[in-house]
C-alpha cells in the first residue's frame, strides 16, 4: 500500500534499479553499433563495421552456426523428454510426485561447473574422449529438460480435466482425447518451454566450458576466450544477437503462456 507521495519515491527507486538492471545489456547493443572501438560518451557515431567484422570472422560464424545447431538438437530432444516427464509427474506419479519433481529440477540446483567436470571425467571413464557435439548435447540436455518440465507442468496443472472427461464421454478414446483436446490446449506451454530450452542451450557457458573441444566450440566459449585478451566490439555483435533472441523468446512466452508461470518460490 503506497500513498501518492511515497509512490513517487518508489517509482524513482524502481526506475534507477531497472536502469541498473538493463544498463549492461543496453551498453553491449550500443557498443556493437558504435563507430569507434571504445565506447565513449558522447558516442562517436553509428556504424555497422563490427557486424561486418563479425560476419567475416570464421571463428565467430562457425561457432555461431555450431551453437545454433547444438541448441536445435537439444531443444528437440529436451521438449519431447520434458513434456513426457511433465505429463507423467502431473497425472500418473501418485505418491512419487514430490520426489520426481525435485529430481527433475536437481540439475539446475548444482553448479554447472561441477556438472561439466563430472561429465568430462565420466565420459573419459567410458572411453569417450573426443566428445564433441554428442557430449555437449548430453550436457545441455541436463539443464534444458528442467525448463521444459517446469513450464509444461505449470500449464498442465492449470488444465481443466473435465474437458478430457467430456471428450471421453463423447466417444473419444484416451489417445484421441490427448491428440484432439489436451495437446492443442497445452501446446502454448510446450512451445514456451521449447523456446526457453533453446535460449538456455544457446547461452550455456559452464558446462560447455568443460565439454567443448576443437571444432565443437559453442559461441559463448569462443567469446570468452576472445574477451580474455581482446576488447574490440566484434564480441558485442554476438551480444546483440543474444539480446534479439532473448526479446523474441520473452515476447513469445508472454503471449502464449504468460510470464507469471515463471514465478518460483511460492505464490
Amino acid at each position: 500500500m503506497i500513498r501518492r507521495g511515497e509512490r513517487q519515491w518508489m517509482n524513482l527507486t524502481v526506475a534507477v534499479l531497472y536502469a541498473f538492471l538493463l544498463a549492461p545489456v543496453v551498453v553491449v547493443a550500443l557498443a556493437a553499433l558504435n563507430a569507434g572501438t571504445y565506447l565513449r560518451f558522447p558516442p562517436q557515431g553509428l556504424s555497422f563495421r563490427w557486424f561486418v567484422a563479425f560476419a567475416n570472422s570464421r571463428t565467430f560464424t562457425d561457432s555461431l552456426r555450431f551453437s545454433l545447431e547444438l541448441a536445435t538438437i537439444v531443444t528437440a530432444a529436451a521438449t519431447v523428454v520434458g513434456t513426457m516427464a511433465a505429463l507423467w509427474v502431473v497425472r500418473f506419479a501418485g505418491r512419487f510426485r514430490t520426489t520426481l519433481r525435485v529430481l527433475m529440477i536437481a540439475p539446475l540446483a548444482v553448479p554447472g561447473i561441477l556438472t561439466g567436470i563430472a561429465l568430462l571425467i565420466f565420459f573419459y571413464g567410458l572411453g569417450w574422449q573426443k566428445t564433441g557435439l554428442g557430449g555437449l548435447v548430453a550436457g545441455h540436455m541436463l539443464i534444458c529438460v528442467p525448463y521444459v518440465f517446469l513450464i509444461t507442468t505449470a500449464v498442465l496443472i492449470r488444465f481443466d480435466r473435465t474437458l478430457e472427461e467430456a471428450a471421453r464421454n463423447l466417444g473419444a478414446g484416451p489417445f484421441q482425447t490427448f491428440w484432439r483436446v489436451t495437446l492443442p490446449l497445452i501446446k502454448g506451454g510446450i512451445i514456451s518451454g521449447a523456446v526457453f530450452a533453446f535460449v538456455t542451450s544457446y547461452d550455456e557457458f559452464n558446462i560447455s566450458l568443460l565439454l567443448s573441444g576443437v571444432g565443437s566450440t559453442p559461441l559463448p566459449i569462443e567469446l570468452f576466450d576472445y574477451l580474455r585478451f581482446s576488447f574490440d566490439p566484434t564480441a558485442a555483435v554476438a551480444g546483440t544477437i543474444s539480446i534479439a533472441m532473448a526479446l523474441v523468446v520473452v515476447l513469445i512466452t508472454q503471449k502464449l503462456v504468460g510470464l507469471e508461470s515463471l514465478y518460483f518460490g511460492g505464490g
Partner: protein, 287 residues
C-alpha cells in the same frame, strides 16, 4: 479419473517418465557418483588418474590453508552478493507484484530479458562499463576525479554477481508478495502504521517463503559462478569454481579437482541446510 487409469495399459503410461529418468541417471547421478569415486584415486602425470585408492586428495586439501581460504572467500562472496541482491531486488519485486496487469507484463519482460541474454554478454557489458577507461570512469573523470578501480577486483565481481541474479531474486519474491492480500496493508495503515513499519511488520514477514527461496537460490548460483569472477575479477580473485577448473583442465589433476569440488559441495550443503533450518525456526517463532 480413476477408472481411466486402471486396466488401460497401466504399465504403458509409466514409459512417459523413462527417457527423463534415464537422462537423469546416466548423465547426472552416475557422473556425480563417478566424480566421488575419482576423488578417491591417485593423480598422476601420465594419465588423468591411477586406479589406486587414496584419501590423500582430501587430506591434502584439508591441510592446505589455501583450500579453506578459497572456500571461505567464495562463501563470503556468495553471502554478500545475496544480501545486496535481496536489498536491490525487493523493491523491484514489490513494485512488480502490486503493478496493474498490463504494466506487470511489461515489467516481467524487463526482468526476464536480461536472464535470457546470458551471463557472458551481461558480464561483457559490465566490462565495458567498469573498466578504467570504461563508461563509468569516463563519467567520474569528467567530474574531475581519478578513475575508480571497479574491475579486476572484488568490487567488480560483486557488482556483476548482484546484477546477474536480480531476475532470480525478483521472480522468487514477487510471486509470494502477489499472494499477500493488499487489504492487509490497508488495514495496517489504517491502524496507524506508516509505510516503513507496514513493510517491516506486515509485508516482509509474510513474504518470507519467497525471500528464503530467493536467497537460497541466489546464494547457490553465486558461489557456482565461473564467468564473472574470471572476467570481472581477471583471475586475481580466486574462487572455488576457478580453482576447480584450473585444477582439472590446466593442472590435469582430476582426483584433486574432484575432491575439492566435493568438499565444496558438502560445505555449501551444510551452509544451506543450516540456513534453511534457521529460517524454518524463525518463521515458526513468528507463527
Amino acid at each position: 479419473m480413476a477408472s481411466l487409469q486402471r486396466g488401460h495399459r497401466a504399465a504403458g503410461r509409466h514409459l512417459l517418465i523413462a527417457p527423463a529418468l534415464a537422462t537423469l541417471v546416466v548423465l547426472f547421478v552416475l557422473p556425480y557418483l563417478n566424480l566421488f569415486m575419482i576423488s578417491l584415486l591417485t593423480p598422476s602425470h601420465q594419465a588423468p588418474y591411477l586406479h589406486v585408492f587414496t584419501l590423500e586428495n582430501y587430506l591434502g586439501l584439508a591441510r592446505d590453508l589455501l583450500t579453506w581460504e578459497v572456500i571461505g572467500r567464495t562463501l563470503w562472496l556468495g553471502a554478500v552478493t545475496t544480501v545486496i541482491c535481496l536489498a536491490v531486488s525487493y523493491p523491484l519485486a514489490y513494485h512488480l507484484a502490486r503493478a496493474s496487469h498490463r504494466l506487470r507484463g511489461v515489467l516481467m519482460i524487463m526482468v526476464i530479458s536480461p536472464l535470457l541474454v546470458g551471463v557472458l554478454i551481461r558480464t561483457y557489458g559490465w566490462m565495458i562499463l567498469l573498466q578504467d577507461t570504461g563508461l563509468v570512469n569516463q563519467f567520474v573523470n569528467a567530474l574531475g576525479l581519478r578513475s575508480l578501480p571497479l574491475m579486476y577486483n572484488t568490487t567488480g565481481i560483486l557488482i556483476g554477481l548482484v546484477h546477474v541474479f536480480i531476475p532470480f531474486m525478483v521472480l522468487a519474491i514477487a510471486g509470494t508478495i502477489q499472494s499477500i492480500d493488499p487489504a492487509l496493508e490497508f488495514a495496517s495503515r489504517s491502524l496507524g502504521a506508516g509505510a516503513w513499519r507496514t513493510f517491516w511488520r506486515v509485508v516482509f514477514p509474510l513474504s518470507m517463503p519467497g525471500v528464503v527461496a530467493g536467497t537460497t537460490l541466489v546464494f547457490v548460483l553465486a558461489i557456482s559462478s565461473y564467468v564473472i569472477p574470471s572476467l570481472l575479477g581477471g583471475f586475481t580473485v580466486l574462487t572455488v569454481p576457478l580453482l576447480v577448473v584450473r585444477t582439472v583442465t590446466e593442472l590435469f589433476n582430476w582426483p584433486g579437482g574432484s575432491a575439492f569440488a566435493i568438499i565444496f559441495f558438502v560445505v555449501s550443503l551444510v551452509v544451506i541446510w543450516s540456513y534453511l533450518r534457521a529460517m524454518g525456526r524463525a518463521s515458526r517463532a513468528v507463527g
